[in-house]
């Protein structure tokens, strides 16, 4: 293999002579660097072409679509119920929230009111999912920039919650527990007990995570003042979730357009000041604490008994035990899955505050059992739109921090 001229002139060092004499003048010019698609910090398969001047990024071009599976096209070919498992595979770290966002959108389309107990169950599980998402983010983001310890701690506790999901719906990650009009099944006493015990065990541990990071000088130096974006720019780019709130905008759909059991819970929305990665980290940690608060309130307020699925036989599924014993229920279930329900003509947009940001579904219905068009507003995709803007002027190593600061998951980004 032959080195090209340019490289040989820069790096030629004759071992016989002292270095000062042999080194030619150092030339500077722009360098193109391909980062990814198999870089471990890209959380999936993302490639970014970085234009560098020395170690500084002058321009970056994200290249996406490696994980594009045409989910929006698939949605047009299946019934509304059949699409729920597809939503699991969007943001595969937080499947529950995707289910939730999708079911809420279809409920808005069909004008269904969810029973009270189901609303509480949904809120509890969504907040458990938010804790998992933020734990995952804390661990991997710190791991990406070299702080390894906290990863083991967050993943240890995440395991407990994933096992809890396993007991709840039979799957740890691809859950599909939400249904249009309610949830698939009620909590068992054992689940309630485990969740309460977990919350008591977990609350002091949050301070432990914090110590690992905030006492780590390298981690603090690599997050404070990195990936700064002003509030105006963040809003203009359409950022959402902690990425937007880090810049001081308190936009949180749980407060702005309250849904489910959130209006009945007391919680605050942490807001940052400087718009840097450190502030976004702080917001996520505070959100974990708020989630714990919300779950505790829900567990206390939740009606002890009640249906967990709306009674709209033309739309919602019959209870599973009736399906196995009752012929009519079985027919109902079969027809709902094979033909779907008859949706009215119209279009809706419904946004839900997932832990990454606003996850929205825009559904156009032309009647019949299948959506005519379904568009997913994925926060990761929209955050990537600001990547070039946010990375300019920072070092190559900061690119990893910026991926991390968005909490990017490519399954959702590429859809």
């Amino acid at each position: 293999m032959q080195l090209d001229d340019q490289r040989t002139t820069i790096y030629k060092v004759d071992p016989g002579r002292p270095e000062t004499e042999s080194l030619p003048l150092v030339r500077t010019e722009e360098l193109l660097l391909n980062m990814g698609p198999q870089h471990p910090s890209t959380h999936g398969v993302l490639k970014v072409i970085l234009e560098l001047e020395g170690e500084r990024i002058t321009k970056s071009t994200p290249v996406m679509g490696f994980l594009h599976r045409g989910v929006e096209k698939l949605a047009e070919e299946g019934t509304y119920h059949q699409f729920i498992p597809h939503t699991d595979r969007l943001d595969y770290v937080c499947a529950m929230y995707n289910n939730f966002a999708y079911c809420r959108a279809v409920e808005k389309l069909m004008n269904i009111t969810v029973p009270e107990r189901a609303e509480y169950l949904r809120t509890i599980v969504a907040e458990v999912q938010r804790i998992i998402g933020h734990q995952f983010w804390l661990g991997t983001q710190a791991l990406d920039i070299g702080a390894m310890t906290v990863f083991f701690y967050t993943f240890r506790d995440r395991e407990i919650l994933l096992d809890w999901f396993d007991e709840l719906c039979g799957a740890r990650l691809t859950t599909s527990w939400y249904r249009i009009g309610g949830v698939e099944r009620d909590f068992t006493p054992s689940l309630l007990d485990k969740l309460r015990r977990f919350l008591d065990y977990f609350l002091p541990l949050i301070d432990e995570y914090v110590v690992f990071l905030e006492k780590n000088r390298i981690w603090v130096a690599r997050t404070k003042g990195v990936a700064v974006i002003s509030a105006e720019d963040a809003v203009n780019f359409g950022l959402s979730g902690p990425t937007l709130r880090g810049s001081g905008v308190d936009y949180d759909l749980r407060k702005y357009e309250p849904y489910s059991a959130y209006p009945r819970c007391e919680f605050s929305v942490p807001v940052g000041k400087n718009g840097d990665t450190y502030d976004r980290y702080w917001i996520r940690v505070e959100e974990i604490r708020e989630s714990v608060k919300i779950i505790k309130q829900c567990l206390d307020q939740m009606p002890a008994e009640g249906p967990v699925m709306a009674e709209v036989p033309s739309v919602t599924l019959p209870p599973k035990d009736r399906v196995f014993t009752n012929l009519e229920s079985m027919i109902q279930q079969f027809k709902l899955f094979s033909q779907g329900f008859d949706a009215p003509k119209g279009e809706i947009y419904c946004g839900t505050e997932a832990h990454k940001g606003e996850l929205g579904f825009y559904i156009v219905s032309q009647g019949g059992g299948k959506p005519y068009r379904l568009k997913i507003r994925a926060p990761s995709f929209i955050h990537m739109g600001a990547f070039d803007f946010m990375s300019r002027g920072y070092m190559i190593a900061d690119a990893v921090t910026i991926f991390g600061t968005y909490d990017i998951v490519m399954g959702e980004c590429d859809r």
Binding site: E76, D233, V235, F237, G238, L239, I348, Y349, R373, G385
Partner: protein, 165 residues
């Protein structure tokens, strides 16, 4: 009619086509010509104040004369209201004004619309495919005439046809 729609109709008598309110969502359709001015008005006007772009999308209506519908959704963080702005374009000339100069976030979203539906955006800084490969030439996957299983390419995978007798 919704006060926001009324205001748009007053300001843009020619560009306004219709306003639909359904399930609490307001959707305003404007002509392609007026689109950029309406968007600028929505962003800059004090009472509108739509500073946040939610999503850009597109719908294909193959039987209509103006086949494609481009959809923008905006939100106002200060005023807490929402609007869906829509415009129609014919297939022969499917190009609309880009709104990237008003909302920077529209950049990637419009690229996605171009990639999936083949609608071009005038004055877009970097209109390339975003999710499909750059060299993909078999069309625009979210159009209704694009089959779910792809256009022929898949049939060239030999291992899929093996054992099909």
């Amino acid at each position: 009619m919704h006060p926001i729609a009324e205001r748009i109709q007053r300001e843009f008598a020619e560009g306004f086509v219709k306003a639909v309110e359904w399930r609490g969502d307001l959707a305003v359709t404007v002509t392609r010509k007026a689109l950029h001015d309406v968007a600028r008005f929505l962003h800059d006007d004090r009472d509108m104040d739509f500073d946040y772009i939610v999503h850009v999308s597109s719908v294909d209506w193959p039987d209509d004369e103006e086949r494609f519908e481009v959809v923008w959704e905006f939100y106002s963080i200060r005023k807490r209201h929402r609007i869906r702005l829509k415009t129609r374009v014919p297939e022969a000339d499917c190009i609309v004004d880009s709104l990237t100069d008003i909302w920077k976030g529209a950049d990637f979203m419009e690229r996605e619309v171009y990639d999936m539906m083949g609608i071009r955006f005038r004055n877009h800084p970097d209109l390339r495919r975003i999710l499909m490969p750059d060299e993909y030439t078999e069309g625009y996957p979210l159009r209704k005439d694009f089959p779910l299983q792809g256009k022929g390419w898949r049939d060239t995978f030999e291992f899929l046809n093996e054992g099909r007798g």
